[in-house]
């Protein structure tokens, strides 16, 4: 187990600067998820921690030791790749024991470590098989087993569940979380799936365009997004973001909803954000919209509404008796909204 400190890290590929000024501090035993859209630099950052990419500027420390110039094998890390990267000609047991074999450990010790890891991951009956004879989930477990046997200071996961089907992904999510609880090893995990990030992480790092947008606990990011990007990225369906303007003591959202104006709302170009589940059917000062799409998921119903030229999404536990084209009066849950500066995108206040 170890802490990881990423200080002012930048990365350039030739003349193209893809990352700059990234600072992330990861505590011992923490499960940190790097999340962001494609091309935001999350995998590059993970690969820099692994030593598979050079660090153009800044420092990376593992357990207090600067590792910028160390080979991957000398960093005491283990990595699980998106496409498993299992050695095809080796059996499951050989794959899992390869690192120990390279390290010159005695055969008995390797066998014991492999058996222990196989027990943890329910791989014991598969130890003699080759990767081609395994399912996707089993291959991913072998990749995790290969990491576990080394007892590394830090586990690195690069989108490990992206290739699995939805059901298996949920199962593996739980398994990885249970594994973290059991081993207590520091984990840095890359994903573009914000559900994965929300459900697994102790701390989420949201990256965009090679910069850190926000770092925090999952629910902190959800409840208090630092800016419009995080607000839009975290949460599914995404937060509704609407134009707003102060009107005396009040705040007018799309000129229809009238809310109490927070003190911080001083500018003229504002954006009001509200989560789909914080929109209510009926309620005080409700505004009518036209229902465009109804998506019942069983547990809840997703509604797409149009109010003037604005499209809003709402999620309700109710099963409203409406059809596409019907009119429905909705309101905004007081105190559940967020006010952002339209230009900088920075969150000004709750609303």
């Amino acid at each position: 187990m170890a802490s990881v400190t990423i200080s002012n890290v930048g990365k350039s590929f030739g003349a193209a600067r893809v990352m700059q000024g990234v600072d992330v501090s990861i505590d011992d035993g923490e499960f940190v998820i790097l999340v962001g859209p494609s091309g935001c630099g999350k995998s590059t950052l993970l690969r820099m921690v692994a030593g598979l990419e050079t660090v153009t500027s800044g420092d990376i420390e593992i357990d207090g030791r600067r590792v910028n110039d160390l080979e991957p094998k000398d960093r005491d890390i283990a990595m699980v790749f998106q496409n498993y990267a299992l050695y095809p000609q080796m059996t499951v047991a050989q794959n899992m024991g390869f690192a120990l074999e390279i390290a010159g450990r005695p055969k008995a010790e390797i066998a014991a470590e492999v058996r222990k890891a196989a027990d943890i991951l329910s791989l014991t009956p598969l130890l003699a098989r080759k990767p081609a004879q395994l399912s996707g989930g089993q291959r991913q477990r072998v990749a995790m087993g290969r990491a576990i046997v080394r007892h590394p200071k830090v586990f690195l996961f690069d989108e490990p569940l992206s290739n699995l089907d939805a059901k298996l992904r949920v199962q593996m999510r739980a398994e990885i979380k249970a594994l973290h609880r059991r081993l207590g090893t520091t984990i840095i995990y890359v994903t573009h799936d914000q559900i994965e990030a929300m459900t697994m992480a102790d701390k989420i790092v949201v990256l965009n365009g090679g910069r850190v947008e926000q770092i925090g606990a999952p629910l902190d990011l959800y409840d208090r997004p630092a800016n419009l990007f995080v607000a839009g990225f975290i949460g599914s369906p995404a937060m509704n973001v609407l134009p707003a303007a102060p009107a005396g003591d009040a705040l007018l959202v799309i000129d229809r909803f009238r809310l109490r104006r927070p003190d911080a709302a001083t500018g003229t170009t504002l954006r009001y954000g509200i989560r789909p589940e914080d929109m209510l059917i009926g309620g005080e000062a409700a505004v009518e919209g036209i229902v465009e799409v109804i998506e019942p998921t069983g547990a809840e119903t997703h509604l797409t509404l149009r109010i003037d030229e604005h499209v809003l999404t709402m999620v309700t536990k109710e099963r409203p008796a409406v059809a596409a084209g019907d009119r429905l009066a909705v309101s905004l849950a007081p105190g559940r909204g967020h006010l952002f500066d339209a230009e900088s995108g920075i969150r000004l206040a709750g609303c």
Binding site: A50, G51, L52, E71, P72, K73, I77, A78, M79, F81, Q82, N83, Y84, A85, L86, Y87, P88, Q89, F98, A99, I102, A103, K130, P131, A132, Q133, L134, G136, R139, R146, R150, N163
Partner: protein, 288 residues
Amino acid sequence: MSLFSQAFRPVGSTRADPVLVALWVALILVAVIWIAPFVFIVFTSLKTNTAVMGETAFALPTDPAFSNYAKAWARGNFSVTAFNGVLITFVKVPLGVFLSAMAAYALARVPMRGRRVLFLLCVFGTMIPFQVMLAPIFKQVNAFGLINSYPGIVLPYLAFGVPYQVFILYGFFSAVPKELSEAARIDGASHFTIFRRIFLPVSLPALSALFVLDFVATWNEFAMALVILQDPQKWTLPLGLMAFQSQFQRDYGQLNAAIVMTVLPAAIVYLMFQRYFVAGLTTGAVKE
């Protein structure tokens, strides 16, 4: 008949596909064209000179003249030429494939300056026909005092074989998922270990193909051997075949028996290695 009618139908279809029919006809034609000379050679190797002159080329030998093989063995000095051929081929081919594989791995996977220039030099090497280099090579080998020696023939063979093999293997190694070598690097493997433990096994189909092609080419090589190996005690099998051709004497039966004995080892090696020509050895390595 039903076997053929099945072959012409796509799976699940009741009608013959004209494209499949055309492909089958083309396949059979090509097979006949390729097998005909071999049948001709085998048949002729079992005929006396009289029978060769008096019968059609593809007539079955009525009274097989197996003695052609024994006579050809003695006349072609095969005990010497076969030994030389085996020695040269079994040193050159594995060594060449191994050197090429190491060079191709370095070019494909070891970050270094000038990698692209080195690769281009290798590609350039594949473009030089060795026939135009025979005279300079002779002078060079002579300058080293290696005429009529095994190193004198193995070194030029390596020089002309390696670029072509590097070119092929570079493409193959570049296509191996980079995550495999990255995972091995994290596991603590050195470049040589990654090459030996990961890339060589994964590349077995390509290496086998190169081994067979190189084996056949080296075994049958004539021009360079003729220039470098002038002492009959150092001759290889193709040079031994020269003993069967002269202005006043031609024994086609013995000549063809010698040809059969010459090509047989290459055919055996091909049959031994062709089972490794299975693609998809990397199945399961990474998610496709």
